[in-house]
């Protein structure tokens, strides 16, 4: 049995995970293969109803507009990357190839590379980073205690107390780091058992919000949760679900300005439960978006980091959501705020 090239092309185009399409001179998509709908979540009609550019994340629209415009000037192909926005509002990182022909259409093929970009750092880099992260608080602990021991007689009481506080603060940080590293390794290699049961997530979230209220008050942040009237059940491990909510809540509180507001929402969409935590904080810089869920990536934020932290919370959150069969993502506008949201399968059996 043999295929004609036409049959072969048809099978590949329909079943591939690559997006193939053509854009007309009005900027609208004229033809799309099925992955467009599967990956971006729009129907074929929706995809063709407005210019292609409107599916691109606003931060990349000017670049893409320019790329498409060039089609009228040259023949050949060009490769570039951009963020696309799905129907649910999630951002996906795409690599695109635009094929310019002498026809009126621009042909375009794209591939979602979000996951490969989110891939964890290499083992060698991990050892180097862990070593650095552990040594940093240890430097302050050893330094502060060493100075107290070595110059006790001549040390001013105020300085003595300040050094003890430095040692204490950094031992807390070191403890949190060690816990985080163990947690992440255990969840990653599957050695930590998840006791999966059906829970009403609303109750769990309510309790967690009350736990965070003092921390929010201390930071002068209002914490708002308007829960739906009906229970929303999902099959989760209680301890890890709470850890996930804690991570998102404490990040949102930490990164909100004084007087800010953190809004938690829970809703059922089709067969999923969607939980979101929205803050009006500093937002996530565009260039950092692809590394948000990487271990220790926070250190790359540099001076925008502001709030310390160990840089493992979001990596752990992603691992937990993956393990619970869900998805996690975020929307962010620098200077305006960030919404982290995750979806878990709804459990209607209860």
């Amino acid at each position: 049995m043999s295929f004609s090239f036409e049959e072969f092309s048809k099978i590949v185009i329909q079943n591939t995970t690559y997006l193939f399409g053509c854009i007309g001179s009005d900027g609208h998509l004229k033809c799309v293969n099925p992955p467009w709908q599967k990956i971006l979540g729009y129907t074929e009609e929706e995809l063709q109803s407005k210019p292609f550019i409107q599916f691109v994340h606003p931060s990349d629209q000017v670049l893409i507009q320019e790329m498409i415009r060039k089609g009228s000037e040259q023949i050949g192909n060009v490769e570039f990357k951009s963020w696309m926005v799905t129907k649910t509002g999630a951002s996906l990182w795409f690599i695109w190839n635009i094929i310019y022909t002498d026809e009126k259409f621009v042909f375009i093929s794209g591939h979602d590379i979000t996951k490969s970009v989110l891939a964890q750092i290499s083992p060698a880099e991990f050892v180097s980073v862990v070593s650095h992260e552990l040594r940093t608080p240890l430097t302050s602990i050893k330094g502060a205690l060493g100075l107290i021991l070595g110059s006790e007689a001549s040390l001013d009481p105020g300085v003595h107390k300040k050094f003890l506080e430095i040692a204490y603060r950094n031992s807390e940080r070191l403890g949190a780091l060690i816990n985080g590293i163990f947690d992440i390794e255990k969840i990653e290699d599957g050695s930590i058992p998840f006791k999966i049961k059906s829970f009403d997530l609303i109750n769990l979230i309510k309790n967690e919000i009350e736990m965070h209220r003092p921390f929010a008050l201390q930071n002068k942040i209002s914490l708002v949760f308007d829960p739906p009237q009906l229970p929303l059940n999902a099959r989760v491990d209680e301890e890890h679900f709470l850890q996930l909510v804690t991570n998102l809540l404490s990040n949102a509180i930490k990164f909100s300005p004084e007087g800010g507001k953190v809004v938690v929402m829970a809703e059922k969409t089709d067969d999923k439960i969607r939980i979101s935590v929205k803050d009006n904080g500093i937002g996530i810089p565009d260039e950092f978006r692809s590394r948000v869920f990487q271990k220790f990536s926070q250190r790359e934020l540099g001076s925008k980091r502001q709030q310390g932290g160990i840089g493992l919370g979001l990596s752990i959150s992603k691992l937990i959501v993956d393990r619970l069969g869900g998805t996690i993502d975020f929307k962010s506008e620098e200077g305006k705020g960030t919404t982290f949201f995750f979806e878990l399968p709804y459990d209607g059996s209860e």
């Binding site: 180097s128 040594r135 430097t139 050893k142 330094g143 950094n170």
Partner: protein, 130 residues
């Protein structure tokens, strides 16, 4: 030509607790005059005014790391040969080898002994070619 006495050190470090500890160790134990900059950018902007004899430079810093700071510092004629010591927690053997190839006088590892660091720096200073 006799060697100048080491008095003025510039510490470039982003962690405020480590700044405090290191400054105290160098000033009270070693008797040095210590200026502190929190970033490579701040150090480059102020190094001429501060006029240090030796620079203690952290490697992992926001915005501009120690390696880039060193490269830029070497472009300032007055500081093309000033002894620079990396004071860092990034001390895997391959990393240390790379730092030495960049022409630093020494690499001091974090965590360090606060009672010994001044003597270690003096030893490095005395080994440095005049």
């Amino acid at each position: 030509m006799s060697r100048e006495k080491l008095k003025k050190i510039l510490l470039v470090e982003d962690d405020t607790d480590i700044q405090e500890i290191t400054k105290m160790a160098l000033a009270s134990i070693g008797g040095f005059e210590v200026d502190v900059c929190s970033s490579g950018v701040e150090a480059l902007a102020n190094v001429v005014t501060l006029s240090p004899q030796l620079i203690l430079l952290d490697v992992m810093m926001p915005d501009m790391d120690g390696i880039e700071t060193l490269e830029k510092l070497r472009q300032i004629p007055r500081f093309s040969k000033t002894p620079v010591i990396f004071l860092t927690a990034k001390v895997q053997p391959a990393e240390v080898k790379r730092y030495m190839e960049l022409g630093v006088s020494a690499v001091l590892c974090k965590p360090f002994d606060p009672m010994m660091i001044s003597q270690n720096i003096l030893d490095i200073w005395n080994r440095h070619p005049i």
